[in-house]
Subunit: 259 residues, 2 copies
DNA sequence: CGGTGAATTGATCACCCTCAATGTCCGTGG
DNA sequence: CCACGGACATTGAGGGTGATCAATTCACCG
């Protein structure tokens, strides 16, 4: 029921498990055992390509909670795949205001914001001690010219981000506060399910402020909304640990406006 | 001062000029004279590649005002480059609510929303009689494997859209109504300037409702905001025709909150 | 000249932000 | 061990921004 990696034991893991910093060597170890292989290496690639791919594109890096994997303005050299943990992407307005623009869970790709200008447009900050695969962009590009399935995979990755961001624009532009929070919880839930984890229980890792920033509302409104959802029996929230009790009810939030 | 194509004569062009429908043949004429060549064909491409590229990737299509170039759910086969006119991209929630997620002016690329799932995730609707270059995606992909500068161009195109959408998420999530409208006007102004048109005067083509949808507010609030900007001497608006009088003043909107 | 779609402007109200107090869980140090 | 400080979360009270509802004007067009 509980998933060992994605879902921490209930009410525990306020601090991430100590093992997570050791799981990924800080040096550039090959990640031939990388759980994200399917991301770096699509099924379509011939088996005999494998060794060269692994040699070429996969090393690992650990990022401590609160530390940046990269910052806005950093030169863009690598893409990343989250191996364990989770990160947020943050964009800054020139007046200093910041907003969370994305959330990446284990298995998801990171760093595409740097392709357009050879500089990262946003920062990526670890929400917990995490580890990422490093994929040198130059090498990946070269590979994509030789292996068409790799090209497809990269294109889809970028296309998915484009669609995901457009969907988030809809969330920010069209939905009420209740609907935004519900949509967010369902999104996380589905992404967990896709990766084989529990869709019902998870540890959000972000603060209420991060959530609010991502959803275009204040932390107080996030907190109030979660409390109301709890009273309505839609979720069971203990701080950052969320249990989705009634997913269908969440999906109907806003549609009916009452129970 | 006035630009012949981007800026229509003041107070005219409520209807697009009749010539615009003839400018682009409805058949698949080669666009060897396509003004958007730089988009399809980056400078880096060797001259002797040119003929094959033109033969491969460029035909044209006209789209009447209000008509869709493609609809959400349509199978994805082509990318497009706007040759003349302008289009909006629209995404629909399952409950039927729609939101404008993007605006494409002449010279800009369109259709990347279909890459991730081989189906378009949003619809593209012409804001005026327009014409687009058709770029078959399969052929483009093939070309990108042979010509590295073409690969770079496509990647940058996708990367730019990713960054642009993230920036729009910031607009929707962090800015006040005044700031959103100001940011929008400045964005259009800069995009016009980049394409060699006037940054001070342009015809917006969208309705107040489209603008509001794109900016996450109601058409009434858009209208009121524009009126207030006009009273403050920041702009001079006559319906959809906008003259930016004080761009620096627009940039300061929200920073000081008063004149 | 009436009809339609779009834009403007006004009046009212609700949603959500702001400010504030309190509570909880930490890790740290007395 | 308990006290303390800090970060985060929750909850309340009040106010402002922008939505909603509505009326009017304007341009275009059949």
């Amino acid at each position: 029921m509980l998933n060992p990696t994605a879902v921490a034991p209930v009410r525990a893991a306020r601090r991430p498990p100590a093992s997570s910093t050791q799981r990924a060597a800080r040096s550039t170890a090959r990640c031939s055992s990388c759980a994200m292989r399917h991301l770096c290496m699509p099924q379509g690639v011939a088996a005999n390509d494998m060794p060269q791919l692994e040699a070429l594109i996969c090393s690992a890096r650990a990022v401590r909670r609160g530390e940046p994997l990269y910052r806005a303005g950093d030169s863009f050299d690598n893409l990343y795949a989250v191996r364990s943990g989770s990160l947020k992407t943050v964009m800054a307005h020139r007046d200093g205001r910041e907003q969370v623009t994305g959330l990446r869970l284990a298995g998801e790709a990171l760093g595409l914001d740097g392709i357009s200008s050879d500089q990262h447009a946003c920062s990526a900050v670890a929400l917990e001690d995490s580890s990422v695969c490093i994929i040198p962009y130059a090498a990946l590009k070269h590979l994509c010219r030789e292996v068409s399935s790799m090209q497809d995979r990269l294109h889809k990755l970028m296309g998915e981000q484009i669609v995901r961001e457009a969907a988030q624009m809809m969330v920010l532009g069209s939905l009420s506060a209740d609907e935004r929070v519900a949509a967010f919880l369902l999104d996380i839930s589905e992404r967990n399910a896709q990766r084989g984890y529990s869709s019902a229980e998870f540890n959000l890792r972000m603060t209420r402020e991060d959530m609010g920033s991502y959803l275009g509302m204040t932390l107080e409104t996030v907190s109030r909304t979660l409390s109301r959802f709890q009273k309505r029996g839609l979720i069971d929230a203990q701080g950052r640990f969320i249990h989705i009790v009634d997913p269908d009810g969440l999906r109907k939030v806003g549609a009916v406006a009452n129970a």
